[in-house]
Structure formats: C-alpha cells, structure tokens
Symmetry: none
Subunit: 193 residues, 4 copies
DNA sequence: CATGAATGAGCCTTCATTCAT
DNA sequence: GATGAATGAAGGCTCATTCAT
C-alpha cells in the first residue's frame, strides 16, 4: 500500500467534492487529479462513499489537533471559546475546500450514508463541550446550560456564518469581525456574570 | 392546469426528497406518490431542480407567515425572539419532511443550483434581523451586534439543534427544552442588561 | 370537417418540418402554428407520418399543375424540358419550405414510411418522361435513352443543384444561371443532332 | 483503446442506420451488433451524431480512394467520367448499406447536424470537378460548363438512379445499363464535338 | 500493486397520441 | 367537432465499479 497515493487521492477528493459536490463529482476526475488510474482508487477506498467518509474522519484529525492546541494555550474557559472560534475561522480561510465539505456535504452524509457514524465530527464538537463543562466547574459559565446543547449551538452559529461567507462570491466581508461578534454573543450568553 | 395536481406533486416531492435526498430521489417515484404519470411532472415543473427550488420558495411561504404571526403577537423583542424559536421548533416537529429539506438539502441547492437565489429563505432570516433592529432601537438589545450577523447565528444555532434531533432516530430528547436553552443563551448574549 | 383548419395544419406542417426536420418537429408546434389545439391535428390526420405524406401528396398537386402548364405552353420537347427546369427552380425559390421537404425529407419517407407509395412524386417525374417520349417520337431526342432513366437523371441533377443552393446560407449564387447549365448539358446530352 | 472495437462499432452503425434510419436507430442496438456494451460506444464516439458523422468522414475514405484509382487508370477525361460512374455503381452494389446512408441520411445530416462540414463528401464530388477541368483544358469538354455545376449534376443524376434502385425491393433492373445511359447523356452533354 | 478500458444498470426527459370535458 | 392536459413508453447518455492484463 502506497500511503502517498492514498493521501493524494484524499486531497484530490477534497478538492473535487468541494468544487462539484459529492454527487456530481466523478471518481475518474478525482483519480486524474491524484495522478493515479481510476481503478487504483478502489484499492485504497471501498467506494465513493468511503472516500467521503475517509475525508471526514481523517482530514478532521489535524483540524481537531489544531483546535485542541489553540484551546489548550488559553487559561480561562472564556479565552478557550474565543480560541476555538478563531481557530475555526482560520481553518475555513486556509482550507476552504475542506471547510466547504463540512458546511455543505457533511449533513447529507450524516443522513444518507448509513455506515457513517461521524465520530471525528463529534470529537470536534466535544472540544466545545469540554470547555463548557470546565467553565461551569470553575464558575465562569452558568451551570444551567447543557454543554451538549451549547456545543451544537456554537458550532451551528459559526457554521452558518462561515457557510454564508463561503457562498458569497466576493468574500469581501471580514470573517474575523464576525468571529468577534459570535464570541461576544455566545460568551455573554453563557457567562455567569 | 390543475392546481391540485401541482400541489400534490409538491407535497410528494417534499416527502421523497426528504426520505431519499435530492440526488437519489427519482422523479418517477414522486409522480407515483402524487398519483400522476411521470410526464405530468414536467407540465408543472421545468425539471427536477425546479421541483426542489419550487419547494423552497413556495413551502416557505406558510412557514414565514406562521413565524411572522407568532412574532407579531409578542410585545417585546425578547419575547419575539422566543416566539421565533418556538415557532421554528414546532414547524420542525409538525413538518419534519420540510424541515429536513431545509436542514439537509438547502445548502446543496444554494451552492449548486445556480439559478436559485434563495429569496424566501433570506426573507425568513430577516424576520430575526428585524426583531434585532427593533430591540436595539428600544434598548432591549446591545447595539454593537450587527442584526445580519445575529440572524445567521441564531438560525445556525437552532438549525444545528434541529438537525441533530431530526437525525437522531429515537427523537427521545425534548426539542422544547433545547429551545429554552437556545433562547436563554442567545437572549442573554444580546441583552443590554 | 373544417377544410380551412386542415389546410392551416398542412401549411404549418410544411414550415415546421422544413425548419426542424420531420423527426425533430413537434406535433404540438405545428398545431400551435396552425392556431388549433394539439388534439385537433389528429382529427384531420392519422398521425405524424400521415401529416408528412399528406403534404407530399397534396402540396405536389399545384406544383405538378404549374409544371404541366408551363410545359404545355411550349412547342418543342427542347423548350418543354427548359420550361420544366425553369418552373422547378422558380418553385424552389418561391416555396423554399416545400422545396426543402422534397430535397431533404422525401427520401427518408420513401424508405421508412412503408405506407407511402409516392404517387404524386412519380407523377411529377413522369412529366419529364412524357416530354422525352414525345421528343423521341418527333425526332428531337435520341431514341436510345430510356425516358424513365432520363427523368430520374434530370430530376436528380436539378435536385442536387437546388439542395446545394438551399443549404448554402448566403444563397448568393444565381439559380437561374445553374438552370441554364442544366438545360445545356441535359439537352445537348439527349439531343439527336 | 481498441481500434478493432471502434471499427466494429462503425460497421454496426452503418448497418443499423441503413436499416432503421438515423433517428429510429438505437445506440443500444448498434452496440449489441458490435458485441460491446452500450456505454462502450461512448468511449469511441461523443454521441449518436458523432457516430453518423464519423461514418461519413471515415467510410468515405476508401470510397474516394477507389474512385481516384479507377479514374487515374483512364487516359481521357471521357473515360475517366465513365470510370467514376462505373465505380460508384459498383460501390452501391457492394456496399449497399453505406450507399443507402449516402443516399438517404447524408442530406439530413448536412442540414441538421450543424457541426458537420461534409468535407469528405465534397472531396468525392471534386473528383468529378477535376476531370471536367482537365477535359476542358485538353479540349474534350465544352468550356462553357462550370465544373462545380457539372459535378453536382452528375452526382445528382447518379445518386437518384441509385436511390431508385436501392429502394426498389426486387432490384431486378440492371444498374450497369443505367450507368451506360448516364454516361451517354452526361458525356454527350458536355462533349465538345 | 496498478491500470484504464469495459461494463450495463439506471434515470431524466421528451413527445406522439389519447380522451374526458 | 375541438380542446389541451395527461399519459407512459422509450432512449440517449452517465458513471460507479470491475477485471483482464
């Protein structure tokens, strides 16, 4: 097994799925972009579905790591939430293709690919949940908010903002500014002060 | 032209698109469920895309109206936001198929169907923006939050919670409870107190 | 039976068949152009094939009559052949749609519509055959040429020239000039001198 | 890519198009007759149109070559014209399917397939034009006849005779005899004597 | 392992024809 | 007779997947 070929296929798939959408994307096109033969794709992935799922599971790893690193560098739960948001927005800007997959294709997959459990995505959301629990423990955050509700709310809010930015062709408005507003609201919302 | 037939096709399409997803849904199946011949579909809709777009544009109308009605029955901006959230959650529970389309298929369409402007969806979001502006004017809400950021954040938060509820097979957890938490956070977040 | 409606359908069919070709032409389009409902077409014609056949059989009548008149006004077989050619070229210029049907669609029909005997077309060709027989009888033409071979040759030659003129977009070259050359060759070819 | 498969498809297409006509012919039937799967057709040809155009362009090559060879073996322009006619009639008898395509489908294609320039067919006609020019230069032929008019006339005459023979089920009459008459008329017609 | 030609099931869409009004 | 909405069979084309080399 050639790890390099597998990686190239994965990277190519991210690009093509982002550009064309999962359903309109052609396996042949992905293979071509990865500089391998069409059939080779099936040596590394079971089928087209598996390719998408593998992206979600594997490309999420560095994203999760970056997020955890950014978060761990902060002391307070407040700052950790800010770090999470900031890190996510950076990811969206620096890996726009992967970001689009998360924004646009992930939901389809969650619903229609029955073999997909979405472990890694849950793991990503749980970074938020953990910060919330921590903040509640140390008194920064109100304790009447369920962390697993908050994690979804925060992610949903960020995701919607990012989706909007992604789909806007001009991309003229500033994602950083939006990030500050997200932080302002969500933190004020959950703050114990 | 038979308005009834058109409606039946639209309703059938909502069901089939929700169940199978837009891409895997078959026009023939929609026609069968609407009790018309396959070709009849094309007397009322240009093509499969048009069917989906028509759903978004037309089925949103009563949803928008219900939301506006619910909102208008409240005095304060605070209560209006609560009404918006509550109304949305009701819609999700009472029209689960349409809700799923909004949660799962809308994004694809926004990105990949280039003829689609998404007017009605924007209209729905603008209900929130208007409440925010009103709340800022009368001092209920902080004025440093941009209404069009908040509308996306709130919708994103609600949407993510609902998506989660929709995709969870058991649907055992209470959507109402989640609604209260959404309101608690977002309102506290934007409150001027 | 409304003879007027039938005629309108026939005229419309000539236009649409000429413009779009028999196979790509839509019955609905013909009906629309004739200002009748789609279904009405089937009150006057058995089916799409019948519409085309009817054109060939009925629209040929005035063409045959005009040709016979033009021919009968000449004394010699020589002049009659010239008259036939001239008349045909005029028809092509004045009824370009019908001419195109004869040039482009007639052959398909002859081969693929098994119910079609092509009587009227044969009648048209026989005008030539009769002139030839007459010319052979009075010594103008060589007697070793079979009239039914000559009629096909002459028609084929004229037809190919006309087809070329029809398909050339600019139509800048002069059909009259070509007519003189056709006459020069074919008459010199069959002359007894 | 398997050149053999491509050839088989081309040969099968000639047969099926000749038998059923271009529009009624099914790609699936052509594939079946070529012993390949339906989709394979699209590896070698862009679409059904391309299949027909490819026939015209590629199957004309040996026909043109045979004609040029036959013509070049004759000394006088007179004999060359005879050779052209004779060769064409042989082709019609030996490749009746291809002949039928030229007689019946070529015109449709010239008119309705806008991507088709008809190069090879023009090349074939130009064999005649060249002989005419040669005959005019050496005094065999009258110089008042435009070669490009004569080429069309001669081809049209031959083509109509052949079409008639092709469409007559019995094929009892002798195509050779018709060939002699064509030569007699057209050569006498253009002769300088 | 790698290839890429071959496969063939599958689906959207068209349109001649019908028939209830 | 006239209408035109409805029908549904049919077919061109695509593309995920396979497999002989």
């Amino acid at each position: 097994m050639d790890a390099n070929k597998r990686t190239r296929l994965l990277k190519a798939a991210v690009k093509v799925f982002a550009r064309d959408g999962f359903f309109k994307a052609k396996v042949e096109e992905i293979a071509r972009m990865a500089n391998v033969a069409t059939g080779t794709t099936y040596l590394y992935f079971e089928n087209k579905d598996d390719l998408l799922i593998s992206i979600f599971e594997e490309e999420m790893v560095p994203i999760i790591e970056a997020s955890e690193k950014a978060v761990s560098e902060q002391k307070t739960a407040f700052d950790k939430i800010v770090a999470f948001i900031t890190n996510h927005l950076h990811m969206v800007q620096e890996s726009p293709d992967m970001a689009q997959l998360l924004e646009v294709e992930l939901r389809q997959s969650s619903k229609f690919i029955h073999t997909y459990s979405g472990t890694k995505f849950k793991e990503y959301l749980d970074i938020i949940a953990r910060i919330v629990a921590e903040g509640q423990k140390n008194g920064e955050f109100r304790s009447d908010i369920h962390p697993s509700i908050f994690k979804q709310m925060l992610f949903g809010a960020i995701d919607q903002i990012c989706l909007n930015w992604t789909l806007s062709k001009s991309k003229k408005y500033d994602l950083e500014k939006s990030g500050e507003q997200i932080a302002a609201i969500m933190l004020n919302g959950i703050s114990n002060r």
